[in-house]
Amino acid sequence: MKAELIKVKMADVQIGNSPAVLITYGLGSCVGLTIWDSKLKWGGMAHIMLPTSKGFSKNENFAKFADSSIEYLVNELIKMGSNKRNLEAKVFGGASMFSFESKSDILNIGDRNIDATFNSLDEFGISVVNRDVGGNFGRTISLYLETGVVEVHSIKNGNKIF
């Protein structure tokens, strides 16, 4: 039987149970975050666009931002019965796809997204067990909820396991 594939769009958060697979396609400067419960074999994935929801309207889609997506994911998993100690985070993406002659803030958005994700995870006391960040290439990531393995696909490096 083929496991259910749950797609996570840009600025989206999804939660699933083993043996489903969570997948998000084509991360560039965006960050793909997975949080997996190693004991209960469930978890979630976020496709994050921006570091912080501060300064944005309350009506904004919370899943655009690192801080609010992480808050949502952690709270939901705890509501389901997860213990924080069993939650393992992995962080992917945050690339700089183009190299420009002129520099501006936006060009470092990948780095800023990565930093914000790590900071926010730290605030919530979630440990980061693996990462594949930066570079100048796109990534598609799949979280296998049965094993917690994340497969990273890129044009540059093919498939890698994290």
Partner: protein, 212 residues
């Protein structure tokens, strides 16, 4: 105040589509002259979407494409992005450099800079027609090249726009060369403030929402 793109009236959308046609027509002529080939263009499609819908609207986030990206500054601002398939890109390079030139089946430095140059000419002539008509001063950045999944190519543009707006307006035109089956998509994504200026310059600044 962030003006919502959803409030644009039909007449304003038509004006933008017309402006897109003028730009694309000029771009097609320039490309046609350079390649000595007939280039057709489609009527520009104008769409208003949520920022996070853009990867789906440009063909799907996982589809692999060549993307050549420009930032536009001056009296209006935004991004322009030319996207095409790798093999079509290589055929275009061959067309440009002539039959005597041996093309690698992969994108090497020469192919990349040839494609950047083609994009440069397309975007430059698009914008020059645009700026003459709208009486605006426009400048384009140097081209930035990527060969990757569409989602990863477009997400920086989405991120940039997401900081200012929830919805974006996108003008898409296809350039088609029939003999060698080459088709390239050109996307114009103005920033919200730029769009207001653009519409004002066209003299059709009547919003139906009445929020002004």
């Amino acid at each position: 105040m962030d003006r919502n793109f959803e409030n644009l009236s039909q007449i304003e959308l038509d004006a933008l589509r017309e402006l897109g046609s003028i730009g694309a027509g000029n771009a097609a002529t320039a490309l046609s002259t350079m390649l000595s080939k007939r280039i057709d263009i489609t009527v520009p499609e104008i769409g208003i979407f949520k920022v996070e819908e853009v990867p789906d609207k440009i063909g799907g986030p996982e589809v692999v494409r060549v993307g050549i990206y420009f930032t536009i500054t001056g009296d209006t601002f935004g991004s322009m992005l030319l996207m095409l398939e790798k093999d079509e890109g290589l055929r275009l390079v061959k067309m440009m450099l002539g039959p005597g030139f041996k093309i690698n089946s992969e994108l090497d430095l020469i192919s990349k800079s040839a494609l950047e140059e083609i994009a440069n000419i397309l975007v430059g002539s698009y914008l020059s027609a645009f700026s003459q008509f709208a009486k605006m001063r426009l400048m384009q950045s140097t081209p930035a090249f990527a060969y990757d999944m569409c989602g990863s190519i477009i997400d920086m543009i989405c991120i940039e726009l997401a900081q200012k707006t929830t919805h974006i307006l996108m003008v898409k035109t296809d350039f088609v060369e029939t003999d060698d089956k080459i088709s390239a998509n050109l996307f114009f994504l103005p920033e919200p403030n730029a769009l207001i200026k653009l519409i004002e310059s066209l003299g059709v600044n009547k919003y139906e929402s009445g929020t002004d």
